[in-house]
């Protein structure tokens, strides 16, 4: 069930410049949160900025009732968010959106993420592992320090490979090249992906080439986050027909092939 919670911040750290990990206590949200869902955060009591900001769920600790998000400071809202301190409270709405689905017979999954897009895949990887699915996470970043979620994956003992734009670690190049390199050998049943649209467009091509199903997580500017305003429309193809879907409630997770990418 979706809730508004006044969440107590218990951890807030700048991991690398402008990338923050934020953990807060929100028991109701933590209880129901599934991988791929997001929270919608009000970063100020002021009327400016007015709207909430959406962030994918990066991790959940059900025992203590905490939710973690991983975000990058890109504008005014995320800047204000980054100034919050531990022990302060934050107005959080969630869990929202359609989660990743986990096909019943899923055996081997590959998770392809770029930049902060990796965030929701980390929680997914954890849940998949708990369900005994074999998981390979492919992480792409600009440079070695900026591989979101690698530490937590290491800690959880989840297989992962990396690529960096500058070659400072792992493959020099794009994470989709990494996917192409290993996809033949690994016989994945399912692909999950989240990141920049060009990356996901390429993931779509590769998936279709190899005939593998999968899901993508999208972003669009949002107002309500709960399906009421129709502000977050994205073009999708369903049953061969183009229409607008709501990223907040029809998504943010969509099937590979449903999403229309524009060059």
């Amino acid at each position: 069930m979706r809730k508004v919670e006044q969440a107590l911040i218990i951890r807030h750290r700048e991991i690398v410049p402008r990338y923050f990990e934020l953990e807060f206590i929100a028991p109701d949200i933590a209880r129901d949160a599934l991988p791929g869902q997001f929270v919608h955060i009000r970063v100020t009591k002021s009327l400016d900025p007015l709207l909430r900001r959406p962030f994918g769920i990066y991790n959940v600790e059900k025992k203590i009732g905490s939710v973690t998000v991983f975000y990058k400071v890109v504008g005014r809202g995320t800047k204000i968010l980054s100034d919050f301190h531990t022990a302060e409270t934050l107005d959080v709405l969630g869990p929202l959106g359609r989660p990743f689905s986990i096909p019943p017979n899923l055996r081997r999954a590959v998770l392809v993420g770029g930049g902060v897009g990796i965030a929701p895949l980390v929680y997914l990887a954890r849940v998949l592992c708990e369900r005994k699915v074999e998981v390979m996470v492919l992480l792409g970043g600009s440079t070695s320090g900026f591989l979101v979620g690698r530490d937590i994956l290491k800690r959880m003992g989840i297989d992962h490979m990396v690529s960096t734009d500058d070659g400072s670690e792992g493959l020099r190049g794009r994470v989709t090249e990494l996917l192409e390199k290993i996809i033949d050998r690994k016989r994945f049943d399912y692909i999950y992906s989240c990141g920049p649209e060009p990356m996901m467009a390429r993931v779509t091509e590769i998936a279709q080439e190899y005939g593998i199903d999968g899901e993508l997580s999208l972003e669009e500017h949002m107002a309500c986050g709960i399906g009421a305003c129709l502000g977050c429309a994205k073009e999708v193809v369903r049953d061969g027909r183009r229409s607008f879907a709501k990223v907040c409630t029809d998504g943010p997770v969509f099937k590979i092939g449903e999403v229309v990418f524009r060059a």
Binding site: A223, A228, F244
Partner: protein
């Protein structure tokens, strides 16, 4: 529990009459910001609201404008949804029953391209049970055909409203566009043609530029400005119109608290709608009802009707 004494409180009366629609309290939720009600079911008891005004409904389904459709602005937001909706038939079959079952007071917001569209919509909805009234959007700035024209020309307003009144016995609330030189003349035209109440204001036409991209942010170029930023404009128009017409007014534009609601009521609104506020605080409508009630109690005002228009000089 006899030892737990309840503080003696005189009951305050929040109920108002909006042109023939009896509302439990003056707090309604604005069309296009509350979906069909079920989107908010975890946050608000729909039967506690003065009324639920549903998303703008048209004869045929509409797919709306391409994205981006919204953008945040200082103290507000622009939207160019483009009246996306599944059409009146789907509304009646799929959304109306839920609202009826929840016991909501239902007001249906309608929009069309032609005078005939409006009349046909009014006729179709006239037959449906559980609908308390119609709100007529003659002012949506996001539809290229019609829309803007109707709302800015008194003669067209008369024609549209008269056509609707002939097709329905439901109370008709005409929702006015703020994008006009003289809101009072438009209001008078609507009343002359038979409007039972007036609703104001719809969004203010605006736009935003994506500086890095050197193009308008919205695919539709223009959008409607809503939220706290427009409150002073909305209060002004309610005040101007309330001085000059006799039908009740449903006031809206940037309401974020019971004090904002009271500004509209004191300026002459019989009831108010909360729009953009629902996006920021999904439980705002119910909170405003509670706060209004407390305010009245604390100030010894027994009936909210005493406050309607009390600031008009």
């Amino acid at each position: 529990m006899p030892d737990r004494k309840k503080k003696e409180r005189l009951p305050v009366n929040l109920s108002v009459n909006l042109g023939g629609i009896a509302l439990n309290n003056p707090v309604t939720v604005a069309s296009g910001t509350f979906g069909y009600g079920h989107e908010y079911e975890e946050f608000v008891d729909l039967d506690r609201l003065g009324a639920v005004i549903v998303k703008g409904t048209t004869l045929e389904p509409r797919c709306g404008n391409p994205p981006p459709r919204i953008v945040e602005t200082p103290g507000g937001m622009l939207n160019a949804i483009g009246l996306e909706n599944p059409g009146v038939e789907v509304f009646i079959n799929e959304h109306l029953p839920y609202l009826q079952q929840k016991g909501a007071t239902i007001i249906v917001n309608i929009a069309g391209n032609t005078v005939e569209d409006y009349a046909a919509l009014a006729g179709i909805l006239d037959g449906e049970e559980g609908i308390a009234g119609l709100e007529v959007n003659i002012s949506c700035p996001n539809v290229e055909k019609g829309g803007l024209q109707f709302g800015t020309d008194p003669e067209m307003v008369k024609e549209v409203v008269a056509g609707i009144k002939e097709s329905t016995k439901l109370p008709v609330i005409v929702k006015l566009s703020p994008n006009v030189t003289d809101i009072v003349s438009i209001a008078k035209a609507a009343v002359t043609a038979g409007a039972d109440a007036l609703s104001l204001i719809n969004t203010v036409l605006g736009m935003a530029i994506d500086v890095e991209g050197r193009r308008p942010v919205l695919a539709n170029i223009f959008g409607g400005l809503s939220g706290p930023a427009i409150k002073p404009i909305a209060v002004r128009m309610v005040y101007q119109v309330a001085r000059e017409v006799d039908v009740p007014i449903l006031g809206m534009g940037g309401i974020m608290s019971h004090l904002d609601a009271l500004e509209f009521i004191l300026a002459g609104a019989t009831a108010i709608s909360i729009g953009t506020g629902n996006f920021v605080k999904p439980d705002i409508a119910q909170q405003v009802i509670r706060d209004l009630e407390n305010y009245l109690e604390e100030h010894g005002i027994m009936n909210i009707n005493e406050l309607i228009g009390a600031a008009i000089q």
